[in-house]
Amino acid sequence: MSIRRKVVVHVAAVVLAAWTLIPLVWVAIVSITPPNEFASRPLRFWPKVPDLTNYPRLLGREATSPSGKVLEPSGHSSLIVHGLINSAEVAVVVTAISLIVCVPAAYALARLNLRWREAGLLTIIATRALPPIATTIPFFALFSSLGLSGTRTGLVITHLTITVPLLVWIGTSFFASLPAGLERMARVDGCSRFRAVTKVVVPASGPSITAMAVIAFLTSWNEFTFALIFNTGSTAQTFPPALASMFFQVSVPTEVAAATCLGLLPPLLLAAVFQRYIRRVNFVGIQ
């Protein structure tokens, strides 16, 4: 590689890193800016006295500010803490159900040469073209009669409408890429059809299934529209509407920034840890 090319490539790498990170880092910086330094003129890129108190305060603890003042827990702490807990619960249940339902289906669609395979996959993928707001309309009516509005169960159901088609889609392409004949070997090794799936195909697809799980978790954790419409203000409120309640209200922007960081940390960590698996996602899936 010529020197010139080397320089160009490294500069481009720095630009890409900056483009990716600056928005995130800036929110983190705002979250540790003390209120009296916030929005100072001219704007500072780093606070003179970093102030981490927003975090313990949002998690419901008292905190001592850099100036030694003892600050009460944030008024939004229960909102945020409950939101985080609910989000985690809902996301875990959604992930579990999605995997239980989608792994066998994706496996079957990818490897069993079913009749109606194409039609099934196309239907599933077509549902992805629905605007999320459009699916809320029928649920609007459904939930009132079933009493599911404002419950975690209801939210899990709505999240499944997104994760199930998505996971079947990407799962199908995952399983299609498994070595041929794996199940035949399992069969002669003494597995029934079903055990061949559970004992061989699933373990052999560890990374793929991990990627599916991560994607299901992220999708649920980040889901906003259903959570806003059905669960805002309820005890089953997840993090996104809780953050929205702070965002749209008289909150100190630095505190909102800290809340944002708290809510974004789990997906960011998860994605960073499992990014090697996520990279395997292949959307070509169907031909």
């Binding site: 990716t20 990170l21 600056i22 339902v101 289906a105 707001i133 459009a134 059809r193 992220l218």
Partner: protein, 316 residues
């Protein structure tokens, strides 16, 4: 024969236990059994509600008085006859174009870069996943801190450069500004996706092109592009569909403003169904949007596949 130590008892039909259920049924039935939960779930929580929303779109009901009546295609006619609907549809298409262009440029640029060797490549490869891990709502919250003329990063930078912090979310620039957030959030997926394809292009092809005296842009046009056209098409369909149905980004950053400058069809539907609670006309507009998105997707897919196939044929 040398192995005579012992001989296992012969298998006889009477000692062979019955095969497990999953083995006894035909492959097709076993497959249907595995697919059944998804089919059932999809029917109950996706197909049925969607079909139900089709029914809703043929009705008109008042949220307060509770009066509801069947109106046939009136909601569709009203939507298609209203200037506001066409305005939001046009805005949606503009938004989709902005998002796809920006998203593709960033994704392709990242992929081309990540194919090179440089210091910290592995780290960067892992880093770029981060925006993707957020949804558009979270990206919107994050970019509020970038765009704000009062305390945003962009304001801080422009101040340092001696410029007047401009209002990025103003009439003229709001759609590209929102599209940028969308592209920021969605491009990593495209980058990974394209990179996987780029890495399959044989290095020899580039050498050959070099020997033939093809310049950098030419090498991109004649070597790289034919390979990535199909994955690129798929990425464009994905990001385009995402953009067409995006709502939370707009909800958080502009609420459709200023003055309706960012009221895309998806947000318009939100206003109609949720703020006004006019489920009928909201559902009708959703269906129109769905048809538009599906038609564009299918049309685009077909074109892309044809072009892709043609390229591949030229190759061989």
């Amino acid at each position: 024969m040398t192995s005579t130590a012992t001989v296992a008892p012969p298998h006889t039909p009477s000692t062979t236990p019955r095969a497990r259920f999953s083995s006894r049924i035909s492959t097709n039935r076993f497959g249907l059994l595995l697919v059944a939960p998804v089919v059932l779930l999809t029917v109950v929580i996706v197909i049925y509600p969607v079909a139900y929303s089709l029914w809703i779109s043929l009705t008109s009901s008042n949220p307060i008085t509770g009066r509801s009546r069947f109106v046939g295609l009136e909601n569709y006619a009203t939507a298609l006859g209203s200037g506001e609907f066409w305005r939001t549809l046009t805005l949606t298409l503009f938004y989709v174009v902005c998002v796809t262009v920006m998203g593709t440029v960033v994704a392709l640029g990242s992929a081309l870069l990540l194919r090179e060797k440089f210091l910290g490549r592995r780290v960067l490869m892992a880093l770029i996943v981060l925006p993707w891990a957020l949804s558009t709502y979270a990206a919107a919250v994050v970019f509020r801190y970038v765009y704000s003329p009062q305390f945003g990063f962009s304001a801080a930078v422009s101040e340092r450069l001696g410029l007047d912090p401009s209002n990025i979310l103003a009439q003229g620039s709001v759609i590209p500004a929102l599209a940028l957030v969308h592209a920021w959030q969605f491009a990593p997926l495209g980058a990974y996706f394209l990179l996987a394809t780029l890495q399959m292009i044989p290095e020899d092809l580039y050498k050959l092109a070099k020997v033939d005296g093809v310049r950098l842009m030419g090498r991109f046009r004649y070597v790289t592009l034919p390979y990535i056209r199909l994955p690129m098409a798929i990425f464009l369909v994905l990001i385009g569909g995402q953009a067409a149905t995006a709502f939370d980004l707009i909800y958080f950053l502009t609420s459709g403003g200023p003055g309706g400058s960012s009221r895309t069809l998806s947000f318009f539907i939100y206003e109609e169904t949720f703020q006004n609670q006019r489920l009928g006309s909201g559902a009708a507009m959703s269906w129109i949007l769905l048809v538009v998105v599906v038609a564009l997707t299918v049309g685009y897919y077909k074109v892309a596949l044809r072009v892709g196939n043609r390229d591949m044929k030229e190759e061989t």
